[in-house]
């Protein structure tokens, strides 16, 4: 897994709540036994007007001109912004595989579904949960400014842009009152984000957590021995 440190990229504002993993990568593409190649079928049912099946030449399919991923201004975007409960539904890791294969490095939303959130980290994608008002602000900025980019610094746990633009959200007072948030007409939009310290270090170092766990092999063996003595019916043969 590639280490994640800082990422600057074009923002794609996908204005929907409860985007589920069936929408991110429809079931017919889960039949693959590989981890790569899912990008062209990311959001397949929203992105194309015809029905997609594995093995089709996606470049020849009829695209949905209204879908945000197909708008020229968002081409090459790597930071996806969405509404509440992103990634709900199935545990399929094909969802982060598809996002990564498409080129998404960061996902910002007010909240994420648990399994999807964890799956992102295993694949070098950084999911960031931010206060709803901050997400609203990013949506407005991305929609107003063609080519809108933000920078995500994982080490410092901060997100900022280069716009020198005052806040758009009417409840901006609340936003500026949030801890660590710095915004005024002369400074850059600059907000902090939270992340679990273990997940942060794994992502920053691009660590394989199986390798990490196996460093504790003796601990696991000792635990297992005791455990099977205490709960002998779970030993199972």
């Amino acid at each position: 897994m590639e280490p994640f440190n800082e990422h600057k990229g074009l923002v794609i504002p996908l204005d929907r709540a409860n985007i589920d993993t069936d929408a991110i990568i429809p079931k017919q593409f889960l039949k693959s036994i590989k981890k790569s190649g899912f990008g062209p079928n990311l959001f397949d049912e929203w992105r194309y007007l015809d029905h997609g099946e594995p093995g089709m030449d996606n470049s020849k399919r009829k695209i949905n001109p209204d879908f945000i991923l197909n708008l020229p201004r968002y081409k090459g975007g790597s930071i996806l912004v969405a509404r509440e409960n992103f990634g709900c539904g199935s545990s399929r890791e094909h969802a982060p595989w598809a996002l990564l294969d498409f080129g998404i490095k960061v996902i910002i939303a007010p909240s994420f579904a648990d399994i999807f959130y964890g799956n992102c980290f295993k694949n070098g994608i950084l999911p960031i949960a931010l206060n709803k008002i901050i997400v609203d602000e990013i949506f407005i900025r991305a929609e107003k400014n063609v080519g809108y980019q933000i920078t995500v610094n994982l080490k410092k746990q901060r997100i900022y842009d280069e716009l020198h633009e005052p806040l758009n959200v009417s409840d901006g007072d609340i936003l500026e009152g949030l801890p660590g948030v710095r915004i005024d007409p002369y400074k850059k939009f600059n907000v902090p984000f939270e992340i679990d310290s273990f997940k942060k270090s794994c992502l920053m170092e691009g660590l394989d957590d199986i390798g990490l766990t196996l460093k504790n092999k003796t601990d696991i063996q000792n635990f297992e021995k005791n455990y099977q003595e205490n709960f002998p019916w779970l030993k199972g043969e």
Binding site: D15, R16, A17, N18, D20, D22, A23, P26, K27, Q28, L30, K31, S32, I33, K34, K35, E45, H51, P54, G55, R83, E84, N85, C88, G89, S90, S91, R92, E93, P96, S111, F112, A113, D114, I115, G118, N119, K122, N123, D196, S197, F198, D209, I210, L212, T213, L214, N216, D219, I220, F223, E224, Y227, F231, P232, W233, L234, K235, G236, E237
Partner: protein, 466 residues
């Protein structure tokens, strides 16, 4: 210190603790064909071994055809995936119920059926509906493929502890109201993200009166409320269900286990991080009308008007959903007519579900407007049991198709799917856009409500049927 059931089980499994990150030991690993191939490949590429092969039970369920299985799987891509599972199980010497084994079925049906699911266990599977097994007083949760590989290689998972939520449902349920209606009522109340970050324990007299099948239906849907873990405390019903199952402990071990399991309840005075009360006697049969399980109403209600939502995001979600579902605000649920019916899935395909549905069908026939009505038993053993009770005859005489076990039209990975615009009464768990086939429209209901919808061609209040 007083502990919740979740905390008690969690504590037993902690191998290491580092700040808020825990390494926990996993007792049971269930595997199916869709989320495992890349994990086995990872094990091979890194030259690793599987830590404890006896902890694994594998079965193909998502891709398998529900029609004649004496012939090969028609879809070549599905076939490769099922064969890959066969190869992996052979290579690593794992217990697998292959497609034509009578014990084959949906992974969350066969685990409990075989006694592979036991109280106090940690159970994982690369499938979000693993929460089902929590009905037995176990911590059971869905994981992604990277974690499948992690458990294969280490028998452990790196996790954070969930917060705890107790949902108390008290009171006698009305006739015709099921665990499915309880689950949908809860999701309607707390939303699909209401349980995110929590392990939910379902408690109260309405829950303890449920059968084990009903408790499985309820815990199965915990993930639809955002919670990876749903739990019900162990009681005599739990013990009775497990007794004599093929993989359950026997003899002295059984007695020891039983004694331990009966302690698997939350302590009396324990405080949960969140507590929710629901009056069981007021729950009515539920029908979803939108594209998220939280978009749900009782059979006596009407479809809500998005314009009356105060929240902008919610209002826009409702509008998108109603457009997709081709439904108008204020339409009574009872006026929605349907094209197809699906009775099955890890939520509602157990013997009790089939008996309840058959009870509604009786000697009646499906309505003329129903293009297809499917009954897909959860396992080969459920199918055999149903056939021995003559349930298959009740269904087929009425015009239902009686199929082989698998996930089928719950997620439409095999040939069973909705066509664009088709409307389905389904006993499954997700009504997402395209879930049952691109452009398909899903209404989630209980098995009884689905059976009644097949007979009348539209949704009816089963409490009003004789």
């Amino acid at each position: 210190m007083a502990s919740t059931l979740y905390e008690k089980i969690f504590k037993r499994h902690v191998v290491r603790e580092d700040n808020d990150t825990f390494l926990i030991y996993i007792d049971r690993h269930l595997i199916h064909e869709v989320t495992s191939p890349q994990a086995f490949e990872g094990i091979r590429l890194a030259n690793r071994e599987i830590w404890r092969t006896e902890s694994i039970l594998a079965v193909p369920d998502h891709n398998v055809p529900t029609t004649d299985r004496s012939i090969e799987i028609e879809d070549p891509v599905s076939k490769i995936q099922v064969e890959t599972l066969d190869k992996n199980c052979e290579e690593f010497n794992l217990l697998q119920f292959k497609m034509n084994d009578e014990r084959q079925g949906i992974v969350h049906v066969i685990g409990p059926e075989q006694g592979s699911t036991l109280p106090g266990m940690t159970i994982v599977c690369g499938d979000s509906h693993t929460s089902t097994h929590g009905a037995f007083g176990a911590i059971a949760m869905g994981i992604g493929t990277s974690d499948v590989e992690h458990v294969l290689a280490t028998q452990c998972l790196i996790v954070n502890k969930f917060k705890t939520m107790r949902i108390n449902v008290n009171g006698a349920l009305q006739n015709g109201v099921t665990a499915k209606d309880i689950a949908l009522t809860i999701i309607g109340k707390i939303g699909t993200a209401g349980g995110t970050g929590y392990a939910i324990e379902f408690s109260g007299t309405s829950i303890s009166s449920l059968s084990m099948e009903g408790r499985m239906t309820l815990c199965n849907m915990a993930i639809e409320a955002g919670s990876r873990v749903g739990l019900v405390a162990v009681d005599d019903k739990t013990i009775e269900y497990i007794k004599g199952k093929p993989l359950a402990p026997k003899g002295v071990l059984w007695e020891k286990a039983k004694k331990d399991w009966l302690n698997l309840v939350s302590d009396k005075d324990v405080i949960f991080d969140a507590e929710i009360e629901i009056e069981g006697s007021l729950i009515e049969p539920q029908v979803t009308w939108g594209t998220s399980p939280e978009m749900v109403s009782s059979i006596t209600s009407k479809i809500p008007n998005p314009d009356r939502c105060k929240d902008k995001t919610l209002s826009s979600s409702y509008q998108i959903a109603l457009k997709y579902m081709n439904l108008k605000p204020n339409t009574p649920i009872k006026e929605i007519s349907i094209d197809k019916v699906f009775i099955g899935s890890c939520t509602n395909s157990r013997i009790e579900d089939l008996r309840a549905a058959a009870g509604i069908v009786g000697s009646k026939k499906i309505a003329k407007n129903i293009k297809l009505a499917l009954v897909v038993p959860g396992s080969g053993l459920v199918k055999l049991q149903a056939e021995s009770e003559g349930l298959d005859k009740i269904f087929t005489k009425a015009g239902f198709e009686w199929r082989e076990p698998g996930c089928s039209m719950c997620l439409a990975m095999n040939a069973d799917k909705l066509g664009p615009g088709e409307r389905c009464a389904s006993t499954s768990n997700r009504n997402f856009e395209g879930r049952q086939g691109q452009g398909g429209r899903t209404h989630l209901v209980s098995p009884q409500m689905a059976a009644a919808a097949a007979i009348y061609g539209k949704f009816v209040d089963i409490r009003e049927l004789n």
